[in-house]
């Protein structure tokens, strides 16, 4: 690799050709502030429209200051990243941005977690020297995401996530000059667009322009209602990230503390979505083997590959954009919904509580789950199986609001029976986990043999599209994995073109899987955080005594006492679903 030398803040450094000033500075410990720029190294995602001009630096011999994020280093270049001219320019740029920004930080949901606010603090802005008209635009509230574009600084990160990474294509900059906003087509509301509610726009928004619909108050009210029995389920990815909100190192597992916190919040029963993940494997795995065996026996009516269906963002995506392929994904409901269905039947009966008086709260790393639990097909007489879905961030707020010292809490266990789970369930939280869990069970059921090795390293990793062939005792099973909807689209198009060779494919809407979900603590552009969460998930799996879903004793009991057999009649009714063609709903063309 060709290298060049540059002088940066009076330091001579050697960098590879093609390196930007920003990258060079970072490499040598110089922090140039950025606002629109976003680089998720481990996921190979970068946004650098050079629009905000916060990262300007002085390059000797150039008339204008240069944006460090897009200016390549040249041999012999002399760069100053913090002289008075640079500092004044940055401050002016920031003040201009702030001059068209509401100053209601105290009551903004991003208070304390806003990149613009942090920057104003870092820069020591005490006065905004520019006064003028401020943008006003209607607020758009969907079932999961709120758009408050008055707080938008046009960094275009959300657009990049929505269009380039997810290829959903909802958001675009529209109109011109002062009137420009980021909006769906024809400035319709999100709930009339093809938005999947994956929440990746929310995950990267530096300000309060894109946030989640907050259900914490509804949960507090339910907990205070003496007529209600309130139970909670927590998704696998939450335990690997919640600690970050309390200053713990990324990748710190807080499973026990989380259970303790939920108990102190007043939930009557603290359960685990992981239980339902094991249940999902029983149902989805059985469906997979059924479809596989029928296909192998020459039944032409059986479509392969089978696609996973746990991810609600992904379900929304294919219902909108690939409705003609809606018979390919598994009919198994997501773990969140399986949990709700079992809680409001089996468990409600056990407690002798009416379903209306049983409130099911889910804690999810996800915003699409908020939409999923409101779907009509998951309601009985108008009563939803899952009443409220809150994000990891909302749970952290709840814990803080109820003045619980999270870090001081003891480690506690989940309650029984819906709190027991296996290692196979916890890996649902990362890309590759669902299919690995399915393989662990499907292998043993199909071959009748015990697995020699439970870890399937070939299914793990962070590459966007992965494939592996697993030997089912002489029968090669070809597995595909995609995370990020843009990558899912590639696999779907292969299937559509008849080019897909896979038997089964796992798809997760968010880059990294649920650990990188739209409801997780904000990573602020540091993708190593997502990697650390992944490591934690696999560590939790390895620490479990039972690591295969079909060996979960409470799952075995559930089938014995209540469900009968996987994919049986009651399962079909409670644990499976069907999908809709939603392409028409969002189109104005007949």
């Amino acid at each position: 690799m060709e290298t060049i030398k540059i002088n940066i803040d009076n330091k001579i450094v050697e960098v590879e050709k093609g390196t930007t000033i920003l990258q060079a500075a970072k490499k040598f410990g110089i922090h140039i502030p950025t606002l629109c720029h976003l680089h998720l190294h481990d996921l190979n995602i970068e946004n650098k429209p050079a629009g905000c001009r916060i990262c300007v630096v002085e390059v000797a011999g150039r008339k204008n200051l240069a944006p460090a994020c897009v200016t390549e280093c040249m041999d012999g270049m002399v760069v100053n990243t913090h002289n008075i001219r640079v500092l004044n320019a940055r401050k002016t740029v920031l003040e201009l941005i702030l001059s068209d920004h509401p100053t209601d930080c105290l009551i903004c949901s991003k208070n304390g977690n806003c990149e613009l606010q942090s920057m104003a603090q870092e820069f020591g802005v005490r006065e905004i020297h520019f006064e003028g008209e401020k943008s006003t635009y209607r607020e758009d509230t969907s079932p999961a995401i709120i758009r408050d574009v008055d707080k938008c600084i046009m960094c275009r990160r959300c657009e990049m996530m929505c269009n380039e990474v997810q290829t959903v294509g909802v958001l675009s900059a529209v109109n011109r000059g002062f009137m420009s906003v980021v909006a769906p087509a024809f400035e319709m509301n999100l709930d009339h667009s093809v938005c999947t509610y994956c929440g990746q726009c929310v995950a990267v928004c530096p300000t309060g322009a894109l946030t989640e619909v907050d259900h914490t108050n509804a949960v507090i009210r339910a907990l205070a209602d003496p007529d209600k029995t309130v139970i909670v389920q927590t998704a696998p990815a939450v335990r690997a990230a919640l600690g970050e909100e309390f200053g713990l190192e990324p990748g710190t597992l807080v499973t026990g503390k989380m259970a303790a916190a939920l108990r102190r919040l007043g939930f009557n029963y603290v359960f685990d979505t992981d239980f339902a993940a094991d249940l999902t494997i029983m149902e989805e795995g059985t469906e997979l083997l059924d479809r596989l065996n029928r296909h192998l026996n020459g039944d032409k009516s059986v479509a392969l590959p089978i696609l996973t269906s746990c991810c609600p963002g992904w379900v929304n995506f294919f219902e909108h954009q690939f409705p003609e392929m809606r018979d390919i994904p598994s009919t198994a409901r997501s773990p969140q919904q399986m949990f709700g269905a079992i809680a409001k039947t089996y468990f409600a009966e056990k407690l002798n509580v009416k379903r209306e008086n049983l409130v099911v709260v889910s804690v999810m790393p996800c915003l699409a789950k908020k939409f999923e639990c409101q779907r009509d097909e998951f309601k009985t007489n108008g009563n939803p199986d899952v009443d409220y879905s809150i994000s990891t961030r909302e749970l952290a707020h709840l814990i803080k609001q109820l003045n619980i010292s999270f870090n001081e809490l003891p480690e506690e266990d989940f309650d029984h029976p819906l709190g027991e789970s296996t290692g196979a369930a916890v890996i649902f939280g990362t890309t590759g986990g669902v299919i690995e869990a399915a393989v662990r069970t499907a292998y043993e059921v199909q071959t009748g043999k015990k697995l020699q090795k439970i870890d399937f390293e070939e299914l793990r990793g962070m590459e966007f599209i992965r494939e592996a062939t697993i030997d089912f005792d002489g029968l090669p099973i070809r597995i595909g994995i995609a995370h990020g909807l843009g990558n899912a689209r590639k696999l779907l198009e292969d299937i559509k073109a008849g080019k897909s060779e896979f038997h089964a494919i796992e798809i997760m809407a968010c880059p990294g899987g649920c650990i990188g979900g739209g409801g997780q603590p904000l990573h602020h552009g540091d993708s190593s955080i997502i990697k650390a969460r992944q490591k934690a998930i696999y560590a939790e799996d390895a620490s479990k005594t039972i690591r295969k879903s079909h060996e979960n004793p409470y799952i075995i009991q559930l089938y014995k006492e209540f469900l009968g057999k996987p994919c049986g009649e009651l399962s079909h009714h409670l644990l499976h679903t069907h999908y809709f063609d939603k392409s028409k709903e969002i189109s104005v063309v007949e």
Partner: protein, 159 residues
């Protein structure tokens, strides 16, 4: 969003336009230009068809349509009225002419009358400064106008 039925012929013509540009994303502005020529404006339906043909998102198409003032999502009237706001016309009272048209037609600039007969737009110099202030109705030029003459022009086309 109101659904307007587009004629099948025109839709085919639009698809042919897309094809003539090899359905390339980069040709969006050219396609929109031609599409506005076909339909007179760019309703949501037209933008959706273009998005599908060029394999881009509708939001992106709308982003471009809403950026350029040349593109319009409102149908033009049967007799589009354009008032010149070039320097010469402006100093000779074009603004009063606009006000009179707005009053007589009861619409704002950029709008179309309910009966679809007239629409009102402003443009820059048409090169007939000697006749200032100038108004175009369709392709016909009216010069040396005073606010009084506005009524007569409208009446001429209202028959």
């Amino acid at each position: 969003m109101a659904t307007i039925k587009l004629s099948a012929d025109k839709i085919d013509e639009l698809k042919d336009v897309c094809k003539s540009f090899n359905n390339e994303k980069g040709e969006l502005i050219n396609v929109l230009h031609k599409a506005q020529g076909i339909f007179g404006y760019l309703p949501a339906e037209v933008q959706e068809i273009i998005a599908k043909e060029l394999n881009i998102s509708v939001a992106h198409v709308y982003g471009v349509v809403s950026f350029y003032s040349f593109f319009t999502m409102l149908p033009k009237g049967e007799h589009p009225i354009s008032i010149c706001l070039g320097t010469a016309c402006y100093v000779r009272g074009a603004e009063k002419i606009i006000e009179e048209f707005k009053r007589v037609l009861n619409i704002a600039v950029g709008e179309t009358t309910n009966d679809g007969k007239f629409s009102l737009a402003c443009l820059r110099c048409v090169g007939a400064c000697g006749l200032a202030p100038v108004v175009l109705v369709g392709d016909k030029v009216y010069g040396r106008l005073s606010p009084d003459s506005v009524k007569d022009i409208v009446a001429e086309y209202s028959k």
